[in-house]
């Protein structure tokens, strides 16, 4: 891609920006690409937490050497427009973990767009995305997994779930697989739903208020994205603050 192309504001015809808030994007465009390189055999981790309201757009380009591991967690919440784009390239036996939660209400637009490239053999990628959307919010996950020719032994998983608190909220989810190797395992699961009414009544019948019953169930739902994170408690606390703003 040449520099001129990078500088042009994307349009809706660009699949990666199909559900974006383009006018909000225009206020911060062009977005710098943050390079992260983990040398062979080494480990790294990063947590992205909201830094305030308004527009927050990040684009990470992550390169994992052979046998490298990287653990990325993100909370996409509290933004009128929040976008996290991630391009990851995995060397042989590399391991990439991505756990993210999106929590939005009113007319917020939140999106996570990932491209995970298994460039060599026996690499592992795990993505867990949980979205809680209220009001007229839109939450999107576009996740491409590309398995290069010869990248046998690839093990990739995408688990994508969204919870709609109001019928006026929107969830978009599009896992996409591009596989050029024979011996691969690429699992993906995707579900959009509402809170279980039987569970909510059960909790309330024990004395929890409707808001507390919802919060407890949504906390558990979101926690799945942060399991095993080094700063799980801080992420969960930030997510709880975002959830409480919705309830």
């Amino acid at each position: 891609m040449n520099d001129a192309a990078v500088l042009d504001l994307p349009t809706r015809r660009d699949e990666d920006f199909r559900y974006s808030d383009l006018s909000a994007l225009g206020t911060v465009w062009p977005v710098a690409r943050e390079q992260i390189t983990v040398p062979p055999g080494e480990n790294g981790s990063l947590s992205l937490v909201p830094e305030g309201p308004g527009v927050a757009v990040r684009h990470l380009v992550i390169t994992l050497g052979d046998g490298a591991r990287f653990d990325l967690r993100a909370l996409n919440a509290g933004h009128a427009f929040g976008r996290i784009a991630i391009d990851v390239r995995l060397g042989a036996r590399a391991e990439f973990t991505f756990g993210a939660a999106q929590v939005g209400g009113s007319s917020e637009t939140l999106e996570i767009v990932t491209t995970v490239t298994h460039a060599a053999t026996d690499a592992v990628s795990r993505q867990t995305i949980r979205s809680v959307l209220a009001g007229a919010a839109t939450g999107t996950y576009l996740g491409r997994v590309a398995v290069a020719r010869g990248a046998n032994g690839t093990d990739s998983n995408q688990s994508v779930r969204a919870m709609l608190l109001d019928r006026t909220a929107t969830a978009n989810a599009r896992p996409e697989l591009e596989i050029y190797a024979d011996d691969v395992k690429c699992a993906h699961g995707c579900a959009v739903g509402e809170l279980d009414a039987a569970g909510l009544f059960y909790l309330q019948s024990r004395g929890l208020t409707p808001a507390d019953a919802k919060r407890l169930m949504l906390q558990a739902f979101i926690a799945e994205a942060f399991v095993g994170a080094a700063d799980q408690d801080a992420l969960s606390a930030a997510a709880l603050t975002a959830l409480e703003a919705l309830l």
Binding site: D196, A197, A198, G199, F201, Y202, L203, Q204, S205, R206, G207, L208, T209, P210, D212, A213, L216, M217, Q219, A220, F221, A223, E224
Partner: protein, 250 residues
Amino acid sequence: MTMLLQIEHLQADVAGQPILKGLSLTVNAGEIHAIMGPNGAGKSTLGYTLGGRPGYDVTGGAVTFAGQDLLALAPHERAAAGMFLGFQYPVEIPGVSFLQFLREALNAQRRERGEPPLSGGEFLKLAREKAALLRMDMDMLKRPVNVGFSGGEKKRAEMVQMGILDPRFAVLDETDSGLDIDALRICGEGINAIMRRADKAVLLITHYQRLLDYVKPDFVHVLAGGRIVKSGGPELAHELEREGYEAVVS
């Protein structure tokens, strides 16, 4: 004698279908009432209607609980007022720890009643005591609510919850279903230990006599077609067991 629950001519619909058709029942403090009846009689609907479950629409009648209009209260307010609903099918809630949920629930009830919250230590002591009463391993209560529990474990966990929440009135919907002989005895003894008190009362909804061997009812009622069609003492349960609903009801 203190009246705890008074149901007057209660009518309720589920999905637009009338299920309860003028049910009346009075329960005083210190009493245990058993409700028996054939499938489809409205037994579970009675339990859910008293608990305030959405979708169980009251279309007529009145329910007074400890001097309050029960039907005007939201489910969590009914719990704080001292009502406990034991579920026939306790709900699994992935990711939510039993202990965390119960502590929040108990403290929410206490807050609603103007009582101070229990500390973590006080709560754990209480939970341990009630789990031991029902012979339930505390480790199970560290797991997500009912997830991976057998049918019998779920019912015992319901009784542990009842012990911790210490209600004045319990509606127990087929607590005996899915229990083996030992678990039935343990649950029966648990109900007696927690609820057999002069200031409390129980409404036991059941199909069978066997639970009543452990929890001796003061009154037995037959529910059929959405109404109480016959009431009597404990001997009525034996009569039903011997002769079947059809003979007794007709």
